[in-house]
């Protein structure tokens, strides 16, 4: 079967009887089997996907229309609840757990006839930047199997990269969709905080988490976003701001002149690979030549973003993960004799190293005597970052940067170092989550080391349409 990179191509071939849903699912299943060594999937819903495909083919034969996502074969990060299916956040803590309900996004996908082909590997509870903190082993980069996929949505990125499904859902707390997208040569999109319901998303840091989309094209990203976004009675933080008909709006051939800002501090960052820097600078010149305004601005608060981010996300994580107590969720340590021991032994044995580190830091910053100095202080920094960013976006359309300071690193390179080195790699991505704004990584570059890397664009709240439009333009 030919490699599809856009849902419209799949749908055109289905319509012209050049393809059936069953043939499509079979082709992806055989790709999954052939690329098993990548470790992208934790579970493949072979029979279920084929059965759903058969039903859709019947519909087509009867001349009925499929839903808007008819023909979309999609994979789901292992942090999204799917009724009567396992969900485990790639943690031993949830070994054997089966969800009683479906996340709102899953309901919405299924309603529009998407076929869910399996659940995808990730860092444990979405905490990590290389997918090496999964209890199910790392995901390998399909371009070079000695390199990491990125994380935490590593399985989602590699599944799209390696043609194991057409698109995937991930979650993005500080870059977990955009960073692996950059490492794996795919589009990664994190919407505005509140644009998509988090009902049924296993919580890491609730005021940062957003479900995101990984796909080959901006067009597919736009359509999937349009389907899964919108208000939800099950999540009161979901916005009731109207969801634009992105797909229809993007059809209009507009060529606006944009104002791009980039941070001097971002490109002068010591950790930034020099070739990534020069290629980004070249691209920025290209944008200026094409008639856009491109300006360097000072953003001295930049170096405080990652520290503030880790204070708050770890605090929220320590609180969110207190529910895993050995009583309700599948795993209980067998030798524990009394109740306190059930809690302690279950958590000590059920959580992996990085999760425990973050729970400990979170417990520290929330503990009596330290709360104001760390947690409240970080919330004040969050206000400053938010105000500064808002101010910039009154003047500029987008803030543009590299998505990542390096291309995909080698397996084992980062996890054997101190945790802070890994955290610093989030330098470009955490801003969007700190301020709740939408951001996207576009797969635009190839490094001379053979690996891809992305360009990140950040826009003001609820300006997804503008972001998608510029993405479309830049991908041409």
């Amino acid at each position: 079967m030919k490699k599809y990179t856009k849902l419209t191509e799949v749908q055109a071939d289905l319509k012209a009887n050049l393809l059936t849903c069953q043939a499509l699912v079979k082709a992806y299943l055989s790709n999954i089997e052939a690329k098993k060594s990548l470790n992208a999937f934790l579970e493949v819903y072979e029979e279920e996907a084929l059965e759903k495909a058969r039903l859709l083919d019947e519909k087509i034969q009867k001349g009925e229309n499929l839903g808007r996502l008819g023909g979309l074969i999609i994979g789901i990060k292992d942090v999204l609840c799917h009724k009567d299916h396992k969900v485990g956040a790639a943690s031993n803590m949830l070994e054997g757990f089966e969800s009683l309900f479906s996340a709102t996004v899953i309901e919405k996908l299924l309603k529009e006839d998407a076929i869910i082909i399996g659940r995808l590997n990730c860092d444990e509870f979405a905490m990590g930047s290389t997918n090496e903190y999964s209890s199910k082993g790392p995901v390998l980069n399909a371009y070079d199997e000695t390199k990491v996929s990125g994380g935490s949505s590593g399985g989602s990125a590699v599944a799209v990269q390696a043609d194991l499904c057409l698109a995937a859902l991930g979650s993005d707390t500080g870059g977990s969709v955009r960073q692996p997208a950059s490492f794996c040569d795919v589009v990664g999109f994190k919407p505005t905080y509140g644009r998509i319901s988090r009902h049924g998303l296993i919580a890491y840091a609730s005021s940062f988490d957003q479900i995101g989309i990984l796909a080959h094209s901006v067009e597919d990203t736009a359509l999937i976003l349009e389907v899964i976004a919108g208000g939800d009675n099950f999540d009161s933080t979901t916005s009731c701001v109207d969801v634009p008909a992105f797909t229809e709006k993007l059809q209009k051939d507009e060529k606006p002149i944009y104002k791009f800002a980039y941070f001097k501090e971002a490109l002068e960052n010591e950790g930034l690979d020099s070739e990534i820097r020069s290629k980004i600078e070249e691209r920025l010149k290209g944008l200026a030549l094409a008639g856009h305004e491109v300006e360097a601005v000072d953003f001295p608060i930049m170096e405080y973003m990652v520290p503030a981010y880790y204070v708050m996300t770890c605090a929220e994580a320590s609180s969110n993960l207190s529910r895993y107590d050995g009583i309700h969720y599948a795993y209980r340590h067998q030798e524990a004799k009394d109740l306190q021991n059930v809690y302690t032994q279950t958590r000590t044995n059920g959580f992996g190293k990085e999760v425990k580190r973050r729970i400990m830091l979170g417990t520290f910053v929330l503990s009596a005597g330290f709360y104001d100095a760390y947690y409240t202080k970080a919330q004040k920094v969050r206000r400053l970052v938010s105000d500064e960013t808002q101010k910039l976006l009154e003047k500029y359309d987008f803030i543009v940067s590299p998505t990542t300071p390096t291309t995909a690193i080698g397996l084992g390179e980062l996890i054997n170092q101190d945790p802070v080195t890994m955290y610093l790699a989030d330098i470009y991505t955490v801003q969007a989550n700190l301020v709740g704004m939408p951001a996207m990584s576009l797969p635009l570059f190839q490094h001379s080391n053979g690996m891809p890397f992305g360009l990140q664009l950040l826009a003001n709240k609820f300006e997804e349409e503008k972001l998608l439009r510029v993405g479309l333009e830049l991908m041409k």
Binding site: D325, R332, A336, T344, L361, F364, K380, L384, S386, P419
Partner: protein
């Protein structure tokens, strides 16, 4: 900030985690680095800055408080590691 055994013990107690001797040395070192790293935010002047607490700009939307049965007892017990027909079981808490 000095990270000593006493602090690790206190945090582990609060977080319901346990660290054996080897793990304790590792988490002590990690926390030292992590806390040292996040302390950078103290360099910023945040006098008169209000903490940003809520990310959502939504206002409360009230709905009727009506009873809906979403799951059955059997479902609710499905994932519990130890249970009988009606309850999740835990080790005995009250001793005679």
């Amino acid at each position: 900030m000095e990270i000593n055994d006493k602090l690790i013990k206190k945090l582990a107690y609060l977080a319901k985690l346990e660290f054996d001797d080897e793990a304790k040395e590792a988490i002590k070192k990690d926390l030292e680095q992590m806390i040292g790293f996040v302390e950078k935010i103290n360099e910023l002047d945040t006098e008169n800055v209000e903490p940003l607490i809520h990310m959502s700009e939504e206002v409360n939307r009230f709905r009727k408080d009506k009873v809906e049965k979403l799951i059955e007892v059997e479902d609710a017990l499905k994932n519990a590691p130890l249970k009988n027909e009606e309850y999740i079981l835990v080790p005995k808490v009250i001793r005679k």
